[in-house]
């Protein structure tokens, strides 16, 4: 789609979790092994300087993708490449690549150690990677980072509990920036915040992206936020990418029935009174995913083929869609 050089390239990424009962229970009670396919063959690329968003309902595996990319989980299969080089098993190479990535977490109350001062929190990447030597120089740098996220440099002597959720998220961002990353993985960074504060944090993120040429992988379930921020959007359903396209294109012409359902849920201010189709049903259990296309139990266009054969991503006029109905031209 985009011909710009890819900073991050993810190919057929898989992550399975073993949630089986203990061995003794399995043997005596005859229970089978149970595997959750949290991420099951996801591929996408992120160009330098862009924001790629992953959206989907809770439990669709989007946060797992984020954690796989930064190396918090080892993948069960597939490849992650950074600047064309695969991130493999080799520890030093891994550490080197990972030093260029940082992550911003969802819950600003859990992501800062309550016993540490802000100065120590923000300086953690600096100390770990010995970016700056000397106490005074580090304090100056922390002060500079705090100003960049619109907090006062004097705040560095406080503890996290003295700040509001939005301020804490700014501290999180400052900590991520302290590592001088090129690539930031943001796992629902605004979902725990008030709406008014969300906008401030998002604007700050956009501003920092322009200032430092950052590349974002943005995880969210909030489509309005995604529309505001992203260059491209991928829609995930039950561990798989069902559609991805440029943001404007996706919001204008959603192809996959699931994307349409999601977009239908965005409230608008025009009060058009148009009939909306509520998202029916719930996400099926990823332990026992439905046969064929995993969306078919909730899909109004499902046919026999959808129940039997899993669809693959295909390019359809500007989008990449995994849907038999779209491919057959039925919708």
């Amino acid at each position: 789609m985009s011909s710009a050089p890819r900073l991050v390239e993810i190919t057929d990424l898989k992550r399975y979790f073993d949630v089986s009962s203990p061995w003794l229970n399995r043997v005596i009670e005859g229970r089978p092994r149970q595997i959750v396919k949290a991420v099951d063959g996801v591929s996408f690329g992120i160009a330098k300087g862009e924001t790629f968003s992953l959206v989907g309902e809770s439990g669709c595996g989007k946060s797992t993708v984020a954690r796989l990319v930064v190396g918090l989980y080892p993948p069960s299969g597939g490849r992650i490449a950074f600047e064309g080089k695969e991130i493999g098993e080799d520890r030093t190479a891994r550490a080197q690549v990972q030093s260029r990535m940082q992550m911003i977490f969802q819950d600003p109350y859990a992501s800062l150690n309550p016993r540490w001062r802000v100065e120590d929190i923000i300086a953690e990447p600096i100390h770990t990677r010995k970016l700056i030597e000397g106490k005074k120089a580090i304090r100056d740098r922390v002060g500079e980072l705090l100003s960049q996220v619109r907090l006062a440099p004097a705040d560095m002597d406080k503890y996290p509990h003295e700040f509001s959720g939005g301020q804490r998220q700014r501290i999180s961002i400052a900590r991520a920036l302290a590592g001088q990353p090129e690539f930031l993985v943001c796992d629902e960074p605004t979902s725990a915040l008030d709406v008014s504060v969300q906008a401030q944090i998002l604007n700050l993120m956009v501003e920092l992206q322009q200032k430092f040429g950052l590349t974002y992988l943005f995880i969210s379930h909030n489509l309005a936020v995604v529309f505001h921020l992203s260059t491209r959007v991928g829609v995930m359903y039950l561990g798989k990418l069902v559609e991805w396209a440029d943001t404007a294109h996706l919001f204008e012409r959603p192809r996959h029935p699931y994307t349409r359902m999601l977009l239908d849920t965005i409230p608008d201010l025009d009060l058009t009174g148009r009939q909306r189709q509520p998202v029916g049903g719930e996400v099926p259990s990823p332990i026992n995913p439905p046969s064929g296309c995993s969306f078919h139990p909730r899909c109004p266009f499902a046919t026999e083929r959808c129940r039997a054969e899993p669809p693959n991503l295909r390019d359809v006029s500007g989008s990449s869609v995994a849907c038999h109905a779209v491919e057959e031209g039925r919708i």
Binding site: L72, Q98, M103, T128
Partner: protein, 311 residues
């Protein structure tokens, strides 16, 4: 340096304003037991200067002074406020020197158990998997034996391995190691539980993304969170360790008679209980009981004060 001073000052200010201090000051019993414990610790530490007599200076001991009753009884002397034992040693002085050994063994074995248990618990909880399974199975096996039995076992093995005279020199160390080894499991289990909760919190994940090595994450992020429960166990354990030491010494496998602990004193005095010289065993026994009771009360209070769910 300035910031270090500021940090200590700030920490102290937080201690003064804390709920823990408030709950300390609102209970007379707790303050009383803290005072008793403080008297014991200072009396034991300063025994060589405070005690009326040096019970180990053989030159000053007179066998003629043996079996002097306490001062308020007929035949009592002011030199021996709580009477004297079969070798003419002042019972009050032997209690002071004896608590010294008892507390030394108690504190050192608790510290040793804490070091071992916290380290193994952190590793077990943080690394997980087969390492965790192995450490916890060892802990399970150890828990199925009573602490005294384990201490006796270790003591017995050391006695076999090291010849008699050398053993006397090492007796206190062996005692500390064997009591410590029988207590580590509690720490390991508690610390493991807290570690497993903490390691999935986002600030630990953030540290991992930053690339902080696992050992440093355990030390700087997880350890401060496990110190509260560990401290509570340590206080309650101190009383148990003192009792265990006394039991072992009473059974004759603890410290040698040349450096008697409270347990040894009770054993020595026990021989004279039925011949009427009750003070030789009763006073060390009462001293032990009061010490253990006050430390135990402090431990119970600390457990309640540090656990907000109980308030």
């Amino acid at each position: 340096m300035d910031t270090a001073v500021a940090r200590v000052a700030d920490w102290w200010r937080r201690v003064l304003a804390s709920d823990v201090l408030h709950s300390f000051r609102s209970s007379r019993l707790v303050m009383l037991s803290a005072a008793v414990a403080a008297i014991y610790f200072s009396g034991a530490m300063l025994a060589p200067w405070l005690a009326p007599q040096d019970p180990f200076d053989l030159a000053k001991l007179q066998l003629l002074d043996a079996f002097t009753p306490p001062v308020w009884m007929e035949g009592g002397e002011a030199r021996f406020p709580l009477g004297s034992d079969n070798q003419g040693r002042d019972v009050l002085s032997t209690i002071m020197f004896g608590s010294r050994v008892s507390l030394l063994v108690g504190v050192a074995s608790v510290l040793f158990a804490m070091l071992l248990g916290v380290t193994l618990g952190l590793i077990s909880g943080y690394v997980g998997g087969s390492v965790d399974a192995f450490i916890m199975r060892v802990a399970d096996i150890q828990l199925s034996f009573p602490a005294i039995l384990i201490a006796l076992l270790i003591d017995g093995m050391v006695r076999l391995a090291i010849p008699g005279s050398r053993h006397t020199e090492l007796a206190v160390l062996v005692l500390i190691l064997s009591i410590g080894l029988s207590f580590w499991v509690q720490y390991a289990r508690t610390v493991r539980g807290v570690t497993m909760v903490e390691k999935n919190k986002e600030y630990v994940l953030a540290a991992r993304v930053i690339g902080v090595p696992p050992a440093l994450i355990m030390l700087r992020h997880v350890l401060p969170n496990v110190m509260g429960p560990t401290l509570v166990i340590a206080t309650i354990n101190l009383a148990t360790a003192v009792i265990t030491e006394a039991t072992l010494s009473f059974l004759g496998v603890g410290v040698p008679p040349t450096q008697p602990s409270l347990g040894t004193l009770i054993r020595i005095g026990n021989d004279f209980l039925f011949s009427g010289e009750w003070w030789i065993t009763i006073f060390p026994g009462a001293a032990l009981a009061i010490l253990v009771l006050s430390v135990n009360l402090l431990g119970d209070w600390l457990r309640d004060a540090l656990n907000p769910k109980l308030r």
